[in-house]
């Protein structure tokens, strides 16, 4: 097995970006022709959506009433949205997993099928690709409000990016520098750098001693050390005009599960605010946020929405059978939960849209993507992707677009183009190459 399979350096080479770029800490993003979005964030959760209360009633989202109840919180941003129809996880369909929705999270942003009932990807996700290729001063930030059984973000095939689920830790990484003097920041960075450079060199020597498979592990560790250096260096870049959000007491260390479910809404809200502030303040350029796994159990209920029982999974299954009866109790419960997810997305959008940038707002120069890993009945067809933000005028927003059944790979390629990676011709297997022209401003 080639070590390149596990190394995103191989991908960078394919993109024409030298491996030596990885530790490059001072490079500015060099956008190629195409879109000019400055930031990307993906937001993912599971168990699908209740379509009758989710699907817009008009392809023109700016028409009054076009956004149904589940998307009501997004109304202020209707003209900056693209609701997509009939985007399929084609790689999973081709792998005979038409109902593999419980295992599809790795496919959402990699365009690769997991093995049957596996939780791994066959390649890197576009957040990793874009973050690497931009050579940004801020590294990829992977956030979670869930256990990382699965993940939407992958450094490479079989290399899951770990999620930081602790808001206090996230705050420390992003904003702790705001309270330091420049001299302290500089000294701290130099000290950290002296240590990490030594560790990097030791890992390099270490790598010479081990076999091929273990070299891959060491390379991943070396990549991580360089990414950490980038992360630590980015701290002092925070503008003094940015106000870091507060992390409420008692929310750190919580995740989905047991008694902490009552704090889950605060956790999600906090993560949205941390992410939004990080994006507009330049503390992060590419963020992923995984909100909830598929599944159920008593820990996956929504008591704060008045839905303590049944659990989320049972509600989803039951509501699946009620697509012709959207007012049935269980359908209303599922729609209430759906609406809550998008309300949290709206919190993020509000931060970006409230930050003036150029002739518009930060949202206008961003690509925000929300996605669920399945549609009704575990289906891997017609995945509910929504794009927010114009990517600097790249996208023609305010619409629902029926793609007529394209592989999600084409959407991922289009997002890469929106982020300025115009040389990318495809994401995933070669047979899924291409983009979705109908999303673009022509």
């Amino acid at each position: 097995m080639s070590s390149d399979r596990y190394s995103r350096r191989a991908l960078l080479k394919a993109l024409g970006v030298g491996a030596a770029m990885l530790p490059l800490l001072d490079a500015e993003p060099a956008f190629a022709a195409g879109g000019s979005a400055k930031r990307l964030m993906t937001i993912t959760w599971g168990n699908g959506v209740f379509t009758p209360n989710w699907l817009p009633t008009n392809a023109d989202l700016t028409v009054a009433g076009a956004l149904p109840s589940s998307l009501a919180a997004l109304q202020p941003y209707a003209k900056k949205m693209l609701v997509l129809q009939n985007v399929h996880l084609q790689s999973m369909l081709d792998a005979a997993m038409p109902f593999g929705g419980h295992f599809s999270m790795p496919c959402l942003f990699t365009g690769t099928s997991p093995p049957l009932n596996g939780f791994v990807s066959g390649g890197p996700s576009i957040d990793q690709t874009i973050s690497d290729a931009l050579g940004s001063k801020t590294p990829l930030l992977n956030l979670g409000a869930k256990s990382d059984t699965s993940s939407s973000s992958w450094a490479a095939a079989n290399q899951k990016n770990q999620l930081n689920t602790d808001p206090t830790s996230v705050f420390g990484k992003l904003f702790a520098g705001a309270s330091m003097t420049p001299a302290v920041i500089s000294s701290t960075w130099e000290q950290d750098k002296s240590v990490l450079d030594l560790v990097y060199n030791q890992l390099t020597s270490f790598s010479n001693r081990v076999g091929a498979a273990d070299k891959v592990k060491i390379q991943a560790h070396m990549d991580a050390v360089r990414a950490l250096e980038t992360q630590l260096q980015s701290m002092p870049m925070l503008s003094s005009s940015c106000t870091a959000p507060t992390v409420p007491a008692g929310v750190s260390g919580t995740s989905v599960g047991g008694a902490s479910i009552s704090k889950y809404p605060v956790l999600v809200d906090t993560m949205m605010k941390l992410a939004g502030t990080a994006l507009v303040c330049g503390a992060a350029s590419v963020i992923t946020l995984d909100l909830m796994n598929d599944g159920g159990g008593n820990d996956l209920t929504f008591p704060t929405l008045g839905i303590a029982s049944p659990d989320y999974h049972a509600i989803t299954h039951s509501s699946d059978t009620l697509t012709k009866n959207p007012t049935a109790t269980v359908a209303v419960q599922k729609s209430t939960i759906d609406a809550w997810w998008y309300k949290n997305v709206a919190t993020l959008l509000g931060i970006l849209d409230g930050f003036a940038e150029g002739d518009g707002t930060a949202l206008d120069n961003s690509v925000i993507v929300s996605a669920n890993d399945m549609s009704i009945g575990h289906s891997t067809k017609n995945i509910p992707y929504i794009l927010y933000g114009g990517a600097g005028g790249f996208f023609k927003t305010g619409r629902m677009v029926d793609t007529k059944g394209v592989a999600n790979n084409l959407l991922l390629t289009t997002i890469c183009h929106a982020m300025g990676l115009s040389t990318i011709t495809g994401v995933g297997a070669a047979k899924y190459a291409g983009n979705i022209d109908s999303l673009l401003t022509m």
């Binding site: 990016n161 770990q162 029982s309």
Partner: protein, 598 residues
């Protein structure tokens, strides 16, 4: 995938309630089916794959997992007596890191949540989690942890250092020279010492001009982030030497392997001394050291952890239970008591008692407290302290009838026979199972005992490869509900709480390639306790635990040798462990592809 509770509150519509019940049942099936996922002949990135051949679904059939000794009770491969398995690179697990800094720095300020999580790569074939690769978040966590530990060192520098801090560079050199071999857990080279003395001098000078204390702290932080500290590997200055086609592990690597396996931490002074004087090259010395470590407190935790991982006992604490169905299993106290009792049970036999393997599956002597007594149906107890108890021998016998195992393998609102059956098949018989179907079928029977529902379900064609294989083992536990309470009858209709039917735990299971008609879980325990197949599987699971990977054909001769010692010792678990650590596959390794050797 998870079990869903039957809703009993907050749902007004009867129609919906029935529907939810239907889907809850479907989801229960789904969870069980998904749990059937197995990997036959799979391999990990390092090429260390399970080499099971044949269809594991055919329990006791022709498919003999060649990498798992006696797993089907058939003839075992002798294996190559000169072979040894690989030693893939791994970093310290959470518990190993915490234990190591406790021993090295006398610092217990960190918690597991501050460290990278361990990663369950393939729970069916590997009964324990293994550390994941070090990604950005993990590197960040190691960075933060090291800085915290270094700050603590700075606060006690005067007592921590072996020299007067005012000596500055001279003291730093002395400190690194003495501290680094402990942190790296092996002899170090002058160049490695030089890495840190150079760092110390650099940060003491311009432009940083750190104070002496800050410079010492930085050196400690750097050491704790180095590969020499974080990884398990032969990192001594000399390249590994081939001995035939395998590499004989150097004494320090053996000392580390032995210590981390048996006590979950770095070698102690006695073990370091044995490595230094070369006696660890002798299997007899390794055995003596193993017996010494097995008597230490750390080994007690290792045995507890092994059974937790092997039988997923910790799920008893985390598996959600519907508060309406199981109000007696909601508090943290009862969940902790269940796990503590299981720990007491296994250590009372393996560490403190006879070491008898069969007792693990037959003994009705355990411990109980105020929380467990109602679940076991014994006389009421007062207080949280676990006290000795003799359980009803017609109901309980061995770890498989413990509340911990039964709650861990039970559902949120009932028992799930496939889960319990799967645990027996994959963890005790070392069988592998085929993949579940993609589409979960709609349940066909809504009123009846759990067994009746699953038996009806098992008539569907899609269940043939999995449910029909595992459920005969699971049905033996039908006298136990989802939290391990004994029952003679079962409620059969959520709409009619007074409707009950007697439970039926009679079943026929295949063990050692033979059919065994049994009455219940007690009977199953008796069969398993004296099974060659289970002996082989148990030895294989311990071997996996000891070497941190799935077994391969190169381990076969070592497993056979350990099994021989196990039998000679009347199946004493302590003797099995000692036999495994003296085996060739524990003391040697196959070179990795691409590795530079002399």
């Amino acid at each position: 995938l998870s079990n869903a509770p039957v809703p009993t509150q907050g749902v007004a519509m009867r129609e919906m309630r029935d529907q939810i019940c239907a889907f809850a049942f479907a989801i229960a099936f789904g969870a069980a089916i998904a749990g059937c996922t197995g990997v036959v002949g799979s391999g990990d990135a390092a090429g260390n794959g399970s080499t099971a051949e044949g269809n594991g679904a055919a329990v006791g059939g022709a498919g003999t997992p060649s990498g798992s000794t006696g797993a089907t009770g058939g003839a075992m491969s002798a294996g190559d007596p000169n072979a040894a398995g690989t030693m893939p690179l791994q970093h310290l697990s959470q518990i190993e890191y915490l234990n190591t800094v406790s021993d090295l720095l006398q610092d217990t300020s960190l918690t597991a949540s501050q460290l990278p999580p361990d990663f369950a790569s393939d729970p069916d074939s590997l009964a324990f989690p293994e550390p994941d690769i070090v990604g950005t978040l993990a590197a960040s966590q190691y960075h933060d942890a090291a800085k915290q530990l270094a700050a603590n060192v700075k606060s006690k520098l005067a007592t921590f250092l072996p020299c007067n801090v005012s000596a500055d560079t001279a003291c730093a050199t002395q400190f690194v020279t003495e501290f680094l071999p402990k942190a790296y857990r092996r002899p170090v080279t002058p160049a490695e010492i030089g890495d840190y003395t150079t760092l110390y001098q650099a940060v003491r000078g311009a432009p940083l001009t750190l104070s002496i204390a800050d410079a010492f702290g930085l050196v400690v932080s750097a050491i704790l982030q180095s590969p020499g500290f974080l990884y398990h590997w032969e990192l001594d200055p000399t390249a590994p030497m081939l001995s035939g086609s395998v590499v004989q592990l150097d004494p320090y690597t053996i000392a580390n392997r032995l210590s981390y396996f048996l006590v979950g931490s770095m070698p102690d002074a006695t073990l370091f001394a044995a490595a230094a004087n070369g006696t660890l090259a002798s299997p007899d010395t390794v055995a003596a050291q193993a017996r010494r470590l097995l008597a230490s407190p750390g080994a007690r935790v290792t045995v507890e952890n092994f059974f937790d991982d092997w039988l997923n006992l910790s799920l008893a604490s985390t598996q959600p239970k519907d508060p309406d169905v199981y109000p007696a299993f909601q508090s943290a106290e009862v969940k902790a008591a269940a796990q503590d009792e299981a720990h007491n049970f296994v250590t009372s036999i393996v560490i403190d008692g006879s070491g008898s393997f069969s007792e693990l599956f037959t003994s009705n002597t355990s411990t109980s407290n105020q929380y467990l007594a109602p679940l076991y149906g014994t006389a009421p107890r007062t207080g949280a302290a676990l006290q000795p108890v003799t359980l009803d021998p017609t109901q309980r016998g061995g770890i498989l009838t413990s509340v911990a195992f039964l709650a861990a393998t039970g559902g949120a609102d009932g028992d799930v026979p496939p889960r319990r059956g799967k645990a027996i098949v994959t963890r005790l018989l070392c069988e592998t199972l085929g993949n579940p179907p993609n589409v979960i079928p709609t349940p066909v029977l809504m009123v009846g005992t759990t067994r009746q529902k699953f038996e009806e379900h098992d008539k569907l064609a899609c269940t043939q490869g999995c449910h029909n294989v595992i459920e005969p083992y699971g049905f033996a536990f039908e006298h136990f509900d989802g939290i391990g309470q004994y029952r003679m009858v079962e409620h059969i209709d959520p709409a009619n709480p007074s409707a009950t039917l007697p439970v039926d735990s009679t079943t026929t299971v295949t063990v050692d390639g033979q059919a065994h008609a049994i009455q219940d879980a007690i009977g199953l325990g008796q069969v398993l306790a004296h099974s060659q197949q289970v002996y082989g599987c148990f030895a294989t699971q311990w071997l996996r635990y000891a070497v941190g990977r799935v077994d391969t054909p190169d381990d076969q001769a070592s497993i056979n040798q350990a099994l021989g010692a196990f039998a000679a010792a009347q199946y004493n678990v302590r003797d099995l462990i000692v036999a495994l650590v003296t085996s060739r596959t524990f003391r040697y390794r196959t070179p990795a592809a691409g590795e530079v050797l002399q």
